[in-house]
């Protein structure tokens, strides 16, 4: 068996001045995930590590660096799945959590459910001892700029997103 990790940083148009740093971020995440596999870690551990690193990198639309909703808030989604057992865990519209993917793993490992959303996800995070972070810590200047650029109230959010980072 040839262990492998493949990671991505989102589809869409990436401005030239951000392309190299985006590539570097994905390479770093992939290396760290692969290091886990080489040390005998599981595929689940590897993908969680890679995605956690990408969530912590403000260049990407996840965790710190997430885009803002129409109210200027950060609402995040995440999913993890184990191909061995088909176990999976997800969170939706969760706020004030640094690493939604780690919360999703706890949903998979610690509950009988597949997905927890919004306030329920936040309450579960608190129960699991995951600290709440300030919303401002997740919001970057770049996210604010993009939010303002797309703010016209009559803009169709689906149309506004097409061709940009997914």
């Amino acid at each position: 068996m040839l262990p492998v990790v493949v990671a991505h940083g989102g589809a869409g148009h990436i401005p030239k001045d951000r392309a190299e740093s985006a590539s570097a971020g994905v390479r770093e995440a992939t290396r760290k995930g692969y290091a886990i596999l080489k040390s005998g870690g599981s595929a689940v551990d590897a993908v969680i590590e890679a995605v956690t690193i990408l969530e912590n990198n403000p260049r990407f639309n996840a965790g710190r660096g997430s885009v803002l909703n129409v109210k200027g808030e950060v609402e995040m989604d995440a999913l993890v799945m184990d191909g061995r057992t088909l176990a999976c865990g997800a969170v939706a519209a969760v706020r004030r959590v640094a690493n939604p993917i780690q919360l999703a793993r706890l949903v998979m490992d610690k509950t009988s459910h597949v997905c927890l959303a919004a306030d329920g996800a936040s309450q579960f995070a608190s129960t699991m001892g995951i600290p709440e972070v300030a919303e401002e810590s997740l919001i970057t200047d770049y996210a604010i700029k993009r939010w303002k650029d797309n703010l016209p109230p009559d803009a169709d959010p689906v149309e506004a997103q097409m061709g940009k980072m997914g």
């Binding site: 040839l2 589809a11 999913l79 959010p157 997914g166």
Partner: protein, 134 residues
Amino acid sequence: TVGAVAVDVQGNLACATSTGGMINKMKGRVGDTPCVGCGAYADNQIGAVAPTGHGEAIMRVVLSRHILFHMEQGKSPEEASDLSLDYMLKRVSGLGGVVVVDPKGTWAARFSSQQMPWAAAQQEQLHYGVFHGE
């Protein structure tokens, strides 16, 4: 959106996806990411997929499982990815990208959008790209 797929030395597969969603989305909007089969899927017997792109389109075609259906029918990860991304573009005008592995460790990073930063590590080698053809 960010995502990853992996195969470990035991031959187990996994996938993970995380996102802030789309700019100016309505409060409470949930995209494909937390939806199993849309925002990711992993099955040791077939493969693992982590997608990115236009979430509403990904949900309408159930993109991750769509790719694995093609792989179940004998397509390679690359062929299956291209078929499903093309289907999503033609049927619901959706753009996106995916990273895919099969149980043998064969991998693919494919996208119909302009760009997608990706990287793959296998056999001590790192492959990566941002633009088509890399």
